[in-house]
């Protein structure tokens, strides 16, 4: 089901944990759907010096969290913003179709943490939209049957 990379990031998650007094914290997802991702960012001079995550969710949720943190660590805010869910998926050698939403969640978690950072510091980050609410997010795996 999962690629070796996914399994590696699930079994040995990078950057798991919390950051006290983080510059920005983002939480996305919803326990109803079975995934919540929380991202902590430590930002200095526009650079992500440290990043941690906590995730409640399936193997793909953990692995995409782990990979997303790896991809933004040490990057500028602008670079971090360009880390899309596709980039996360590619870095993990792909995800099963039913798990693609996890990578979307990882992208959104990073964005949410950046948004929180921006809010706290009264700055505006170009191209960053406010976090969306995931209450009505659906997992539809049916395809062209009807």
């Amino acid at each position: 089901m999962y690629s070796e990379k996914v399994m590696d990031h699930f079994m040995n998650p990078r950057n798991m944990g919390e950051i006290e007094n983080a510059s920005g914290v983002g939480v996305v997802g919803n326990p109803k759907c079975g995934d919540i991702m929380k991202i902590y960012l430590d930002i200095e001079d526009g650079i992500i010096k440290d990043v941690k995550f906590k995730t409640f969710g399936c193997g793909a949720a953990v692995a995409t969290s782990s990979m997303a943190t790896e991809l933004v660590k040490g990057k500028t805010i602008e670079e971090a913003l360009k880390v899309t869910n596709k980039a996360v998926m590619e870095a993990l050698d792909g995800l099963p179709p039913v798990k693609v939403h996890c990578s979307v969640l990882a992208e959104e978690a990073i964005h949410a943490a950046l948004w929180d950072y921006a809010q706290k510091n009264g700055i505006e980050i170009e191209g960053l939209k406010p976090p969306v609410d995931h209450d009505d997010h659906h997992h539809d795996i049916h395809e062209d049957d009807e």
Partner: protein, 392 residues
Amino acid sequence: MHKIYFDHAATTSTRKEVVDIMLPYFTESFGNPSSVYEIARKNKQAVDEARQKTADLLGADFNEIYFTSGGTESDNWAIKGVAESYKSKGNHIITSAIEHHAVLHTCQYLESKGYEVTYLPVDEYGQVNPEDVRKAIKDTTILISIMYANNEIGTIQPIEEIGRIAKERGVLFHTDAVQAMGHIPIDVKKANVDLLSFSGHKFHGPKGIGALYIRKGVRIKPLLHGGAQERNRRAGTENVPGIVGLAAALELAIRDMEENNKKMLELRDYIIRGITERIEHVKLNGHPTKRLPNNINFTFDFIEGESLLLLLDSKGIYCSSGSACTSGSLDPSHVLLAIGLPHERAHGSLRITLGDENTKEEADYLLEVLPSVVQRLRDMSPLYEEFKRKNK
């Protein structure tokens, strides 16, 4: 590394003895039972013997056993076939909220065709109240379908009582006995059922073969149209090795049931106690006593089931979270929701289903590994972080 299979409700291996019995029907005795010549007649006889054996094991008659491709087909056939046959009498079907998808999705399909379906609730242990069944019956009710035992939480339903009510009111009663068959004693007459589904691979028989008991006198439209097999009711060349294997596996399962169940009950309760003692914030799902002897189902707060399965897998332990058959969906188990678990707790369930080959050593290994695995996921969980903060 240990390799421990704790997912016998998902499927079981086919017993070696059963495979040996099946083998000649692949290569030597391969004739089509519908043909008239010698090698085919032998196969017709093999199918007849399997039918008689199966009937005897259930307290049914030879002509009341129909072979299908599995539990799903049996459930679909029973419900759609009866619904179609009796639609001049009424369009109302009663079932429960915790049925397998083979029943639920079939009922939903019938709703889209103009049937009315009542989904009875269950109590916190997953039991249907027979009085609820009685109250739900209307003039238009043509079928009640309540499973014998649940595949996720193992709860056994009061089938005899429901059957008695159905009989009193002249309504047909189908039960999905896929999880019960070969695991607890079943007699179709005592159970007061009119139709009963089961599937070979749940009791060490082969996959892709099942059966439907149809009481004499019950009208049912075919689901598969075609040749005249199965007395004109279920078309398709007979899966002779499968049929022979199903009957042989059922015979062995029932022969060894008492002994196996004694062993599994002990192991089951040992594991339940062990988990409850070793891990905080857990809850046993299902009925404490009216449950299948091989079923254990726990909710672990703050964590998600698939992650738990993957970590256990990495330790060589194979379990399931919710029904394996429903893993294509990302929704939490409808069974756990029906017994009142909130979504996030429903996501965090672990099902351990035992087989006769499981040992106390394996149970001990599980009990050794599980606490640290659960802790590891909790340490990763933002829900647990929040819980700890609130309870500091």
